[in-house]
Amino acid sequence: MGDTAGGYRILVVDDEPDLEPLVLQRMRRSIRSGQYQFVFAQNGVEALQKLGQDDAIDMVLSDINMPQMDGLSLLEHIPEVAPDTRSVIISAYGDMKNIRAAMNRGAFDFVTKPLDFDDLRVTIERTLNNLEAWREAESSKVRLAAIENELDVASKMQQSILPTEFPETDHYDVFGSMTPAKEVGGDFFDIFSLENGNIGLAIADVSGKGVPAALFMMASRTLLKGAAIGLKDPGKVLQEVNDLLYDDNEAMMFVTVLYGVYNPETRTLTYANGGHNLPIIVHDDGSSSVIPSTNGVALGILPGGEYEQSSITCAPGDTVVFYTDGVTEAIDTEEEEFGMERLQDTFDREPEDCRKAVLSILDAVSDFAGGAPQFDDITCLALKIK
């Protein structure tokens, strides 16, 4: 950030003249408080000129289709003039081809048209948090040994993609938590608002560690979000993400993902599984069951893989708990695993809300582990039906 007093500078690139007054109007509070400044360009050429002249620009928000130089070409040129800048693209709803192309050219994230300003605000915040993490890591590079620094960067990147706000409605609430292992693991979770009041919930575990795994994680998360808003069926979403991740996956990284769409009107959860642990449902008497399994391999390794999907209907009072193997495979000082049974035994009655449900699991794991070291990230995401 070149100019601390003026907040973060964001360059908005679009040939549509209506966007400038709209951004200035909808973001006026953040502008007035000094949090953000906006500058505008009409196409890629003008954007590069501005980036060349103004080294205080922190972030670029660009449309894809523009005359003279489009958004994808712009992305290719940004590192030449402003390497320390994060880019977010504006794409058509569900346009995975362009989103994937933009990701390959180094875009950090995307938003879709028509612009939802609440989503845009969250995306800007996430992008700038990620940028700050990089800057911090960069500045501490001298002090740290290379490997420590790499793990530090990876861990901050991981933290920056997790949701920080959780939806709460009259019909359901959601809460998630990720406790990182000392040596970075690769867990993440995400929550998306979908059409017709539906909500998308994802939990995932990326293999490997360090910056390559963190980059694979970012790609997984962004592709999942793109596919989730473009495609309705969870099975199709995982199939699409799997195919996209498989391309150029020489390092043989993979990610296990459980993705579900909850429809509050019918109280149904439709889900597909890419090699992940199956969620449990805790009922209103504290008893619990594992949701039925569906076929599907971890994402990124099997081209053309298909993902079966299934649906369950929830009752009011049910809590669906998604988790990663960091929970069930946590060990105590005798190297015994926490296991499914202890997970299900955590509840002897209905959890009050999903924050409490998640926290009681984390407490149970931590009590069980005693002083034993934590080898893997411990992640839980819960959905409670009211």
Partner: protein
Amino acid sequence: MPIESRRDDGTLIIHTEERVDSANAQAFYQELESAIESDDRAVVMDMERLTYISSAGLRVILQTARKLQQQNAKFAICSLTGTVREVFEISGFDRVIDIHSSQADAVAAVNG
């Protein structure tokens, strides 16, 4: 991560031990690299003595399978115990890697 390997009538048989987790996955990979020769055409990994494998370990198995595929070698694993078998089933790796219940079956498969 100690591994033991021997060649039996043209088949390389590798025994894996104890645990493979993110802490020793890289060492495991390097040991496999040095155990496998570029002219090996049949490789079996026996997991009878393996008690735990993490996703980092699965990735090593996958990298090994890919490498062997590139050198036109057949690869199978066998004798998975409880927890390890579960990890392969949950992740769907049992549909990507050729798995057999006994070493004899695996050896027959890679020589078939």
